[in-house]
């Protein structure tokens, strides 16, 4: 390369070659790093997903590979905003035991609140966690388990033991606490969980019988 300055070739060609060489080197490096880190990244994502699932569905409730047994559903009422909810199915010896639904509430104080909701086959909530949100720190972030145990107040709730009008915050006459200075955030979470429960009750059978989309998603990655 050092003798390139003495080269009589046209400068445009020289520039094109120089850029091409850099692009090629950069791409080669990226391709190599990508293939070297891919298994580990997939493993990290799997570990994280399993971690989330086991937070809302107790591990002793199922013995299938729950993280690989999922379907995508859409329903404008239960899951508004054009989203696709991801429904993971937990089975004990093949018998439906619980689902964990990943979806988001669209009506937080600051946009989306990503949730995962565990529902046992008998319609009881086995756990709710907030996966991601942009609510005000110090006010709305009480929905995070590391900030307060408010999110645990869903455990054991069902459509049977909590009437439809109680599925909101106390300020609206419901059963759930709001936070000092923040009503919108908990209200959004409570209502989203309620909608998910109703959806589960109406579609329980179909949710468990549809074939898993895991194989299809694996295929698409390749």
């Amino acid at each position: 390369m050092t003798d390139a300055s003495n080269n009589p070739r046209h400068p445009v060609a020289r520039n094109a070659i120089a850029l091409g060489v850099i692009a090629l080197l950069g791409t080669a490096l990226l391709a190599w790093v990508n293939s070297a880190t891919k298994p580990r990244i997939a493993e990290q994502e799997r570990r994280q997903l399993l971690d989330q699932l086991e937070q809302v569905v107790p591990a002793d409730r199922f013995n299938n590979a729950m993280h690989e047994d999922f379907i995508l559903v859409s329903d404008t009422l239960a899951f508004p905003g054009g989203q696709q909810a991801q429904v993971f199915r937990a089975r004990q010896q093949g018998v439906p035991a619980a689902v964990a639904m990943k979806f988001y509430a669209i009506d937080g104080y600051n946009g989306r609140i990503d949730l995962i909701v565990g529902i046992l086959a008998d319609g009881q909530v086995s756990g709710v966690r907030v996966l991601q949100h942009r609510e005000t720190p110090g006010l709305g972030d009480g929905i995070e388990l590391r900030r307060s145990d408010w999110i645990l107040s869903f455990n054991g709730r069902s459509l049977d033991n909590t009437a439809a009008e109680d599925w909101t915050v106390q300020r609206d006459g419901g059963d759930f606490d709001q936070f000092t200075g923040a009503t919108i955030t908990p209200r959004a979470v409570v209502r989203a969980v309620h909608r998910a429960l109703e959806y589960f009750e109406e579609n329980q059978e179909a949710l468990f019988s549809r074939p898993s989309e895991f194989a299809a998603s694996e295929e698409a990655e390749r």
């Binding site: 390139a4 120089a18 850029l19 850099i22 990226l30 790093v33 990244i41 720190p137 110090g138």
Partner: protein, 229 residues
Amino acid sequence: MSANYRDIMADGIWRQNTGLVVLLGLCPLLAVSNTVINALGLGLATLLVLVVTNTAVSLSRPMLRPEVRIPAYVLIIASAVTVVELLMRAWTHDLYQTLGIFIPLIVTNCAIIGRAEAFAARNRPLPALADGFAVGLGFTIALLALGAVRELAGYGTLLRDAELLFGPVAAGWQITVAPVDWEFLLAILPPGAFIALGCLVAARNWFDARRQAAADQAKLDMQPATEPS
């Protein structure tokens, strides 16, 4: 030669500190400096990118004509950032998710292309590497200082969520300074970042001014009092 490297380090860390003097790369500086660990994570990622890009830019000097240098730098920087992003996803997955968009956005940190243009393009690879390290270190220190001030004021703690960066062993590293439940929202929210940065810049300038004054005084004392004042 050694004095040369000393100058590079002093410029990068203190005299021309990216965050506190040149005020480049403020977007990530202000956005993710709400805790020490976030600040350290982004600082180290930026440091690594700077070392790689400065070296690569310096190495590519012989084949680059001035007209195409900027696109070439952009290619180099984008590749380096993507590599760092992939490594973070593989090894510090939780921190990667906390820092989110600000890792890919290192590409747009003008401090990086600034160093490529101002230093790496005019120097041999080794000094360029040293400059990348010094500037990255200076940026990390600025981020850390800002993160420490904001986390102390905002949460009353230091090193919270250390496990995101250092793994499970670090879960107990948090140092709690203020009473439990201490929370000062302003420091955590974006305005707090501007206020804290302003204070840090002022503190640095005050320190420099005092040192300068002391040096001037010393010079005056050395001179015989024959000159009129």
